[in-house]
């Protein structure tokens, strides 16, 4: 008996019971649609987080002073004055896997222009900072080395600052704003970057030469943070160990003692974020997978009913020459047809549902090929697995008994 004939027979049997077939299929449809949608949501958020992180600069490394014990008191890391400009210079000079590097000193206050004001932060950095954080200057220009040397009172502002201080659409370049009591002349405006994955407004920022912030606002000699970029994402590890080496030497830390600084890379954060979203994806898929199993059990149930109901038919088929394996194949094809057809419809439904989630819920989704392939494979396996026992039962019937069955 060839496959085409078996296929025709199975199709015929299904079309004899359309409603029942459809309802059985519905279990699979819902299961597969759920798997596809859930995976799309999980993958979507993972992808968007990955994108945000790489936008921030996936090879970014942050160096902060570490909290350490002083006379039995554990101090806050922000009180530490252990990071010096000398550290910045040595890292710049002797770490070959570090490309861009900038010190950071930060202060928060009210920015004021005329009658408008807004609370914001000012970051004292150098020009490399823009490269590291992928900022771009739109109007105007970034400050120069000369500005850094002279601690010039110039700044570059983000779009949120411009919107808040210049609501009438004036050109901010060349205007003088006050940050607290210190006047700063705006020499450039940053291109908008929007919100990052933590919900932080990346445009609510003022950048100024770090020397200006150190000397004119904070009156400090140390620096609060150093941020730098490794030559590539893959080189992050190497760069971190180079920096560690330099800092330990600079800070005269004995072998075996703890570092008095912390180094964080975006890669660390990315992998943390990934593990969170992966966990979420697995959870969603597991819930959806359960509904697929329930659908499979529905198939098994219906196939059992179908075998019992068609006992005489099976007896007849055997008496006119069907072998056990023909009967087995017939019922197996029936259950696979149900599950695969359900799978196809489910994939379509799932994709549409995912699209609606994106459209209405404004949630990032991503239907990926492997989820479709996975759902499909699971469907076929479901059909075979749950169809096998009923089909086996049918093929093992004794034709004499089956023909006599009432």
């Amino acid at each position: 008996m060839n496959f085409v004939n078996l296929f025709k027979i199975a199709l015929k049997a299904l079309s004899n019971n359309k409603m029942r077939g459809f309802l059985t299929m519905l279990g699979i449809i819902i299961g597969v649609a759920a798997v596809i949608t859930m995976l799309a949501i999980g993958q979507g958020s993972k992808k968007s987080i990955q994108m945000e992180i790489s936008e921030m600069g996936s090879n970014m490394i942050m160096i902060m002073p570490g909290a350490y014990m002083r006379g039995g008191v554990r101090s806050s890391s922000s009180d530490m004055e252990s990071l010096k400009l000398a550290d910045f210079s040595s890292i710049e000079a002797s770490c070959p896997h570090v490309t861009f590097i900038s010190p950071i000193v930060q202060s928060s206050a009210q920015a004021i222009y005329g009658a408008n004001n807004t609370p914001t932060s000012i970051y004292g950095v150098n020009q490399d900072y823009l490269e590291i954080r992928s900022y771009k200057v739109g109007d105007g220009d970034i400050f120069t080395d000369q500005d850094i040397r002279t601690a010039a009172k110039v700044c570059v502002v983000g779009k949120t600052i411009v919107d808040n201080l210049f609501p009438d659409g004036e050109n901010p370049v060349g205007k003088v704003i006050r940050f607290g009591s210190i006047p700063f002349r705006i020499i450039g405006v940053l291109e908008s970057k929007g919100y990052n994955s933590m919900g932080m407004d990346q445009d609510d920022v003022i950048l100024a030469p770090y020397t200006t912030i150190q000397k004119r606002i904070l009156a400090i000699n140390h620096i609060q943070q150093i941020v730098c970029a490794a030559t590539s994402e893959a080189d992050t590890e190497v760069a971190i160990s180079e920096i560690t080496e330099v800092l330990r030497t600079n800070h005269k830390i004995k072998a075996g003692d703890d570092d008095n600084f912390n180094i964080r890379s975006q890669e660390e954060m990315a992998s943390m974020m990934n593990s969170v979203t992966s966990m979420m994806t697995i959870l969603l898929a597991a819930v959806a997978g359960i509904s697929l199993v329930v659908g499979g059990i529905g198939i098994m149930n219906i196939m059992y009913v179908s075998v019992t109901e068609r006992t005489r038919e099976i007896g007849l088929r055997m008496s006119i020459g069907a072998k056990g394996r023909d009967i087995l194949a017939q019922f197996l094809i029936e259950s696979i047809l149900i599950s695969v057809t359900g799978g196809i419809i489910g994939v379509l439904f799932g994709a549409v549902a995912a699209y609606l989630v994106q459209l209405i819920g404004n949630f990032p989704v991503s239907v990926q090929m492997w989820t479709v392939v996975l759902a499909f494979a699971v469907c076929t396996l479901t059909g075979i697995f749950f169809g096998w026992y009923p089909a086996k039962k049918a093929s093992n019937l004794d034709p004499i008994e089956a023909l006599r069955y009432e």
């Binding site: 008996m1 008496s319 006119i320 069907a322 072998k323």
Partner: protein
Amino acid sequence: MGKEIIRLDNIRRHFQVGDETVKALRGVSFTIEEGEFVTIMGSSGSGKSTLLNTLGCLDTPTSGEYYLDGVDVRSMGKNERATLRNRKIGFIFQSYNLLAKTTAVENVELPLMYNPSYSAKQRKAMAIDALKAVGLGDRLYHKSNQMSGGQMQRVAIARALVNNPAVILADEATGNLDTRTSFEILVLFQRLHEEGRTIVFVTHNPEIAQYSSRNITLKDGKVISDTRNDNILDARAALAAMPVQTD
């Protein structure tokens, strides 16, 4: 002497029911030649059904030899017997056993579906020929639930004929039909007999024996009589003699 189609040699069939051994067939031997129309009679419990199952290769005897069209059946496996049934035997059942919601043509095609040497086109042509041969040329695409009992049995007969079998096995083929329709079916069987087909007709109705060429009677698992019928009645004449219902 015609060609030997069926040869039974001391067939015994025992069933184990609990602790008891039921001896359904206790040494049955006979041969049936090509072109014979044999009725097998016997009261219930005489072993008719077991004999028919054995003849139909659905069951294997406990001992004894069975040759169907020269092939030794007893040594065959399950799958070989299935193929043998497909090629050599046409079954006709009391309750027709047509597939529900399926057209006459599709029902008749069924045995050919299990024979990979026929194409879909050939199957259909052969099924239509078989249906025409049983007088259902105008009911090819009627579904089984749209037909009368007599028509359904004709479809079943067409299904038994379509693979051109060595022997047609009928199990109480007229049992579910009224007298008139029974005779119509008998006419059909006699015509098949005239065309040279070998028919084994199991029944408990003694009347039918008068229309066959030979009658074998079973009792308690043994053949108690095996007689040739020299005076075969014509079913067509009997049908014509029946009062035609006018109301």
